[in-house]
Symmetry: C2
Subunit: 164 residues, 2 copies
DNA sequence: CGGTTAGTTCGGTAATTACCGAACTAACCA
DNA sequence: TGGTTAGTTCGGTAATTACCGAACTAACCG
């Protein structure tokens, strides 16, 4: 097995995966793949990413900020060292971001229900209204389950940090 | 309140939401928004979508097939009627698709672990290896919870269908 | 103070994607 | 058998996005 090639292929696989999963530019996806492959614990610096990925400083900067914004990565600093060390966010953080999306869907659904209540005149439309309301309860259930899931991961993460 | 404008705004909101959430083209997102707003139960035909969205037949065709492929919508037919009636997929179907993504991440992670086991030589790298393994257990937990969540929704959906 | 390090912002270009109209197929019907 | 309905496929164009290099800021150091 060619080790270097295998490493490249894993980053490439991660790249494609994250590009689809999170709807992010190719370079952002490759940064995330690289951080998972090479920098889970110790982190990678800005310059290390510029070098490893052969991309420009500006692109790395833009895409690191994008990944920070959508909370897929975090960074830490070391005393007496101006560099930032980037690493992937853990699962509880990543899922927490998904919760925000559920909240934004709730806002739309509530507006849709108001709209339907103002407009439903025939029996078919009233049937549709009931359906939207059922969907709303789905979302509320989804949210509860996600909160549980996040708590679950927080516990696992805590346990893993204590074990290290 | 201007009813027509409110309807447009809701579809627009849904459009932006789904575009981000699922990484789909604007028109696909608007189709999904329209189906949720107007066709949850009774469904909407190809021609109805062409007319409502003011898009070309080719674009509607392409994007309907895209939405069918990623399992965000379904369709049904009526006896003696060649038209297809499109409606949004229910939540359990939508989440089931997310499970596929988790499976594809598992494949990458297993490759990453093999890679790490072949390459980890210093203590820092071995530490990284342990971290990836911990991440793998996270994913397995995530999968279990998702399966539970999907079952939960299936039950809710069944109940709602019986009530109608 | 001037130099260096660490990263950001801006303007332009290359690549990609989204959407269109026109021509097509496939199934049904008169 | 020819016409209509229901959608698909193809080739081109307009709009968007991704990425780059160059110039910039902001913080620290000698």
């Amino acid at each position: 097995m060619d080790i270097k090639q295998e490493r490249e292929e894993i980053i490439e696989l991660y790249g494609n995966y994250f590009e689809k999963l999170y709807n992010i530019p190719p370079l952002a996806a490759r940064i995330l793949g690289t951080l998972i492959t090479d920098g889970c614990k110790t982190g990678l610096t800005f310059d290390a990413l510029v070098e490893k990925l052969g991309a420009s400083k500006s692109s790395i900067s833009t895409n690191l900020n994008l990944l920070l914004n959508i909370e897929k990565i975090t960074f830490f600093t070391k005393a007496g060292d101006r560099k930032k060390y980037f690493k992937p966010a853990n699962l509880s953080q990543r899922l927490a971001n998904f919760l925000k999306l559920i909240d934004s869907e709730m806002i739309i659904i509530d507006r849709l229900i108001d709209y339907r209540e103002a407009t439903a005149s025939c029996s078919e439309e009233k049937c549709n209204l009931e359906n939207v309301k059922a969907y709303r309860t789905h979302i509320i259930e989804a949210k509860k389950l996600f909160i549980k899931t996040i708590d679950n991961f927080k516990q696992i993460e805590l346990k893993n940090n204590n074990n290290k």
